[in-house]
Every structure is written in C-alpha cells, then in structure tokens.
C-alpha cells in the first residue's frame, strides 16, 4: 500500500490554491492511498500540517529542497 499513487502539482499556486488543488485530487484517491503534493507557496509550510490536522488526513512526510516543498499524505476518509 505504501506506493504513491498520485502526484499533485501545485507549484506556482498560492493560498488557498494548493489546498484546493489537493482537495480536488484527493477525491479521486482511495482511502489509505498515498498522495504526493508539490508546491512552492511558503505558506504551505504551516498550512499543509494544519490542513492535515483539520481534515484528519495523515501527513506522512514533509521535505524541502531549494524552495520546492514536497508533502506525502495518506488519505484517511472515504
């Protein structure tokens, strides 16, 4: 199950763009699946973990490389 099934590219978008794009993509993902979010919005550093807390989805991984933020999320709800 630990294979990333979807990559969401929200690079260049800013608040609330990345989260709305993520939300839309999450609809097509099955429960328990892993999804990868790529973005460049500095606000995402605090917002993606907050979103995970609010929505109940699990933030599995958060990495940053030269301004490119990458988050791995496990979908919790159906």
């Amino acid at each position: 199950m630990d294979v990333i099934t979807t990559t969401v590219d929200a690079r260049g978008q800013s608040c609330p763009g990345p989260l709305v794009t993520l939300y839309r993509a999450l609809k097509d993902v099955r429960q328990g699946d892993l999804l990868e979010l790529l973005c460049t919005d500095p606000g995402a550093r605090s917002d993606v973990p907050s979103w995970a807390k609010l929505s109940g989805n699990e933030l599995v991984e958060a990495t940053e490389d030269d301004g490119l933020l990458r988050y791995v999320i496990r979908k919790a709800r159906a």
Binding site: S14, G17, V20, Y23, W51
Partner: protein, 186 residues
C-alpha cells in the same frame, strides 16, 4: 487516593461537572464554520472566501450568510442596478455591486487600489474573489443570501448568481452559528 474529606469531594464534583460541560460543548458543535459576510468590500470578501474554500478543502462544513452590503457580492456581474424604487435603485448604484466591481475599504483611489491588488494577486497566482466564489460553490460551500436584506434593498432572486441556497433570516443564521465550531463576522 481520596482522603475522604468534604473538600476533596467538592473539588472532584467540580472537575467532573467541568469535564461533562466540555464534552457537551464538543457534541453540540459540528465540524463546521459559519461566516457572516456583512461587508461587500473586496478586502473583506476576499479573506471570507479564502477561509471558506480552505475550510471546505479541510473537510469542514461551510455556510456563508451574505447580509447588508455583503449581499451585493452575490449579484450577477452583468446586473449593474437592483432595487424596487428610486431609493433602493440609487443605493445599488452608489454601491459597486457584483464582486467584479467591488472596491477596497481603504486605499481605493478611484479604482487604482483594486486594480493594483488584482494585478499583484494575478502575478502571485492568488485567485481573485470572483474565481474563489465559483470555487467555493463547486466545493459545496453553502452561500446563503439574507432574506431581509433582499426585501429591504429590493434585490430579487434573479438578480443573484446561480447555485445559492434559499434565502434565510436572522434566526436561521443564528442556528447555523450555534451549531458551528467557528463563527466569524466579516
């Protein structure tokens, strides 16, 4: 480890009551946010819609109650005037109307402010409120017009954009707020 004194019992009872009250609060409140959108200015409606779409993206139930000047954010862009007679019509002309024409609450400078803000937002790829309103609607945010404002200002249902909830009154708005974990007046 109770020593069995009266003070201990009272303290314990207080703690239990407090815990019960807190639990009840949790049960009564849904994972929901209700925003009263009272102001129609661009710099007020914008954060309202950012919060709404973000809450919806976080799996929260979202209701936005558009009242007084806020109602005009829901007016169809092609509809420049609304109203019943000369006074309500004049008010609708004085008021910029539809979100597309919304002014800033400060630094408006005859439209230079909103234009510059719009330009900066575009470059920064922050969606404009007109776009956010559509996004919100698509994401299931309940956009609710205020019945009283519609009657008072002579705004008809056909003056408003499609996809809105049925207009409601103050009591229903209060009910929406009461069952929400978060309530805001913007």
């Amino acid at each position: 480890m109770s020593t069995g004194t009266a003070t201990d019992t009272t303290e314990l009872k207080e703690l239990i009551d407090q815990a019960l009250a807190e639990r009840e609060d949790g049960i009564n409140k849904k994972n929901k946010i209700t925003i009263i959108a009272w102001d129609g200015h661009l710099d007020r409606v914008w954060p309202t819609l950012i919060l709404s779409t973000t809450a919806a993206a976080s799996g929260m139930e979202v209701s936005v109650f558009f009242t007084f000047w806020g109602l005009f954010a829901l007016v169809r862009p092609e509809k420049r005037t609304t109203g019943r007679e000369w006074m309500t019509k004049a008010l609708s002309v004085l008021n910029p109307g539809a979100l597309k024409r919304a002014k800033l609450s400060r630094y408006n400078f005859a439209g230079m402010g909103p234009w510059m803000l719009g330009k900066v937002a575009e470059d920064y790829k922050t969606p404009h409120p007109t776009e956010l309103l559509e996004m919100a609607r698509d994401m299931g945010v309940r956009l609710i017009p205020c019945q009283m404002t519609m009657d008072l200002m002579g705004v008809k249902k056909e003056d408003l954009i499609d996809g809105l909830e049925e207009p409601i009154g103050a009591a229903t708005a209060l009910l929406e707020m009461k069952e929400s974990a978060i309530q805001l007046f913007i």
